[in-house]
């Protein structure tokens, strides 16, 4: 094969990667600037300045970023684990059982594809008010509405349907009940799908913005994106250095999660297509 075009492709790829990274690199650079430096003309693009650490410290001390990150991490992990568990159970029920009302229940779940949480924020917050969750237990309000979704159910249903039925027969011969079958046969075969699902759900929960705002939680109970938004306080002047630092800090956990589960994420979706 001709060697030379490969360098061209490498070059093109590097250019594209840098281009994609441009906004983020810019944010990283600005997050090191002080309040005044962020307003200089021409903008200070290189080398990075020294204020990153002090900006981050302001975020963690003055704006309780530490608590916000902890809250968001907890909420995201609870939803990931809970949603996966419920979706797998539902998938198990739909694929491996025949029972009266199966299609009604399936339609019931299907219909919720058309009921996005984003449109239901106001009645949801009234419901949460009736349950007194925002005052007594904000993290329940942040997690419970997301513990089930049609997408998760369909994902696992599809995946289970692709698994050969012979495995079930073999398990039944061994005398395994549904739960043992789920845990010891299906689960080991599902890590890719679980990984992919986990990444999507984690990132989706990490990005939650409108819902925590609607709930009017006290500042220590809020989630990280609200914290980032609050850093845009234009009291005296927008401190762009602080703001970019907030964006950078807020993006590290999902990036880490993504990189860790990358392989599962990439291969999990190959299994999503109908075979």
């Amino acid at each position: 094969m001709n060697r030379r075009p490969r360098y061209g492709i490498h070059l093109a790829l590097i250019v594209v990667c840098l281009g994609m990274a441009c906004p983020a690199l810019y944010a990283l650079q600005v997050s090191t600037l002080t309040l005044e430096e962020a307003f200089t003309i021409p903008p200070k693009l290189f080398p990075p300045s020294t204020d990153f650490v002090s900006n981050v410290r302001t975020l963690f001390d003055g704006q309780h970023f530490g608590r916000l990150i902890a809250n968001t991490l907890t909420v995201a992990l609870v939803v990931v684990v809970g949603k996966t568990a419920f979706a797998m159970l539902a998938g198990l029920a739909f694929v491996y059982f025949q029972f009266p009302g199966k299609w009604v229940l399936f339609f019931f779940v299907l219909l919720t594809l058309l009921m996005p949480t984003e449109l239901l924020l106001v009645p949801l917050s009234n419901l949460i008010a009736d349950l007194r969750w925002a005052s007594d237990d904000p993290q329940l309000a942040l997690t419970m509405p997301f513990l089930a979704s049609a997408l998760g159910v369909f994902l696992f249903r599809q995946h289970f349907r692709n698994i050969p039925r012979e495995l079930l027969e073999a398990a039944q011969i061994d005398g395994a009940g549904p739960l043992r079958y789920l845990l010891w046969v299906l689960l080991p075969m599902s890590w890719n799908v679980i990984g992919a699902h986990a990444v999507i759900q984690f990132i989706s929960m990490w990005h939650q913005y409108a819902w925590p705002i609607f709930l009017q939680l006290s500042p220590e109970d809020q989630l990280i994106q609200v914290g980032v938004r609050n850093s845009v306080i234009s009291g005296t002047q927008t401190d762009f250095g602080l703001l970019m630092a907030a964006g950078v800090v807020a993006s590290i956990p999902p990036l880490v999660f993504f990189v860790l589960l990358q392989k599962q994420f990439m291969s999990g979706f190959a299994l999503m297509r109908d075979k």
């Binding site: 994609m20 059982f97 762009f240 970019m244």
Partner: protein
């Protein structure tokens, strides 16, 4: 798990550990919060206990309701049901539809239509069939009746159609009959019913009322909110802005992502590294994207873009203050946000294109471009289809974080009296109307219902038409 040999413990043990940790984690989270969960349990119990009362209310209502209003709604529903069933029966295999007895199907359709119409007309108290109702509201009422009828007609059609091959029982592929499937479905059903169905019903009810936050009073207004929306110039502009922005976001993000994915799917060293480097922006949230672009598109020489433009072209556009430019900043931010996700899926799709097909085509003399459009692109259609749905969903809902950060007032104004905002997209206006002090909350709810219908229609249409054209491999 892959690296079996490198783990210090066996995969089964690792799985046990993981399961134990997951279970432990959930317990540690929920056990201290049992009080909160108890509140939910109480709510469910009260709801179930209230069911007989609800049934009595329905009966009382129908006893007391003006007869002709109910009759009209049933009539309209029946006509709609009969006509649509006749059409559907004609379109699908008439022989199999209700075993060829079309008149029976039409009758069933009429009945389902009349009954279904009541689903939506009952909460509206049949108000659009009152004698003194305005023309506009009456027309809206007709649409609502039809929608209610549809809700019952679709399952009836599915039943009448019969399901080929559904009778074949994979007896060998199922567990014995037991109550277990219900148990497994309980958590999902409860969460969906309480946190999706119930609020959805609430929002439909609120859309029938005039309500202003924070006033405690509210007034039943029949379909007035919907009529007002139709005649509201601000809403129409919001609609237009949303479609405009969505179109470009989807177009650009899909096209650019496809190009990048093709580039990244070439067989080079470190392809995996490149792929990671292209996909990670997916982890950046809309809010953070907005914040970064806010800094980049600042006016004056301190913003990155205006500095670049100023020093090269000598222009200094007010990106966020010009009504023609502001939507483009939103588009740019959204496209960047979506690129990672789209690239990922396109790469996955490209990886599954069988190389033998492409080689055969190149042997036949087809150039790269032709190979791409004739073979690769059609084979990518399931992915394009999936990405289309997710990108549109993002442009309708997720874009709120971007808009609220870049243009918290809804963008530069236009229209007489400056009433419309250039980036006042539907979801943004909806939240403002539903949430702001003094804003009409009922109108916000009506907007939510309309938006829901729009996206639902779009999704259903996509499923129906695109899926027919989508080619699957093998």
């Amino acid at each position: 798990m892959d690296d079996d040999s490198r783990l210090p413990i066996s995969p089964q043990a690792a799985q046990r550990v993981l399961l134990g940790a997951a279970l432990g984690f959930l317990l540690v989270f929920f056990v201290p919060r049992l009080d909160g969960l108890a509140a939910l349990w109480d709510l469910l119990r009260d709801a179930i206990a209230g069911l007989p009362g609800f049934v009595v209310d329905v009966i009382d209502y129908y006893r007391a309701a003006p007869g002709e209003q109910v009759a009209y709604s049933a009539l309209v529903g029946a006509i709609f049901g009969a006509v649509t069933t006749a059409l559907v029966a004609g379109v699908f295999d008439p022989a199999r539809f209700a075993h060829g007895r079309t008149w029976l199907a039409v009758l069933a359709g009429a009945g389902a239509g009349a009954l279904g119409a009541q689903i939506l007309m009952f909460p509206a108290q049949h108000c659009t069939y009152a004698s003194d109702i305005g023309g506009a509201q009456f027309r809206v009422g007709l649409v609502v009746t039809a929608l209610g009828a549809l809700a019952l007609l679709v399952p009836v059609w599915t039943l009448l159609r019969g399901r080929p091959g559904a009778r074949v029982q994979h007896v060998a592929g199922h567990f014995k009959r037991s109550p277990l499937p219900y148990v497994f479905l309980v958590p999902t059903v409860i969460v969906l019913a309480v946190f999706l169905y119930y609020p959805a019903a609430q929002i439909m009810l609120v859309s029938l009322r005039r309500k202003i936050f924070p006033l405690p009073q509210e007034r039943f207004a029949c379909m007035q909110n919907y009529v007002d929306l139709a005649s509201d110039a601000v809403y129409r502009n919001s609609f237009a802005s949303t479609l405009y922005i969505t179109l470009f976001v989807v177009l650009f993000s899909l096209a650019i992502a496809l190009a990048i994915a093709v580039l990244a799917s070439q067989k080079v060293k470190w392809a995996g590294v490149y792929r990671t480097l292209l996909v990670w922006p997916y982890a950046i949230s809309p809010v953070v994207t907005g914040v970064i672009f806010l800094s980049m598109f600042r006016e004056g020489g301190a913003g990155l873009l205006n500095w670049a433009l100023g020093s090269t072209l000598g222009i200094n556009p007010g990106w966020l203050t010009d009504k023609d430019l502001a939507p483009w900043v939103i588009v740019a931010a959204s496209v960047w946000n979506l690129l990672g996700f789209n690239v990922l899926f396109y790469i996955a799709g490209l990886q599954n294109i069988p190389t033998d097909l492409l080689e055969a085509a190149s042997l036949d003399g087809a150039g790269r471009v032709r190979r791409f459009w004739r073979i690769t692109f059609p084979l990518l259609s399931p992915f394009t289809f999936f990405l289309l749905v997710t990108n549109v969903t993002y442009s309708f809902y997720g874009i709120y974080g971007v808009v609220d950060t870049l243009t918290p007032q809804g963008g530069p104004r236009f229209g007489p009296g400056g009433e419309s905002g250039a980036t006042n997209v539907l979801i943004f206006k909806l939240y403002k109307d539903a949430f702001d002090t003094g804003a009409p909350a009922g109108l916000g709810a009506a907007q939510a219902v309309v938006l829901f219908l729009m996206v639902a229609t779009f999704t259903v249409l996509q499923f129906r038409f695109l899926e027919r054209r989508v080619t699957y491999e093998g």
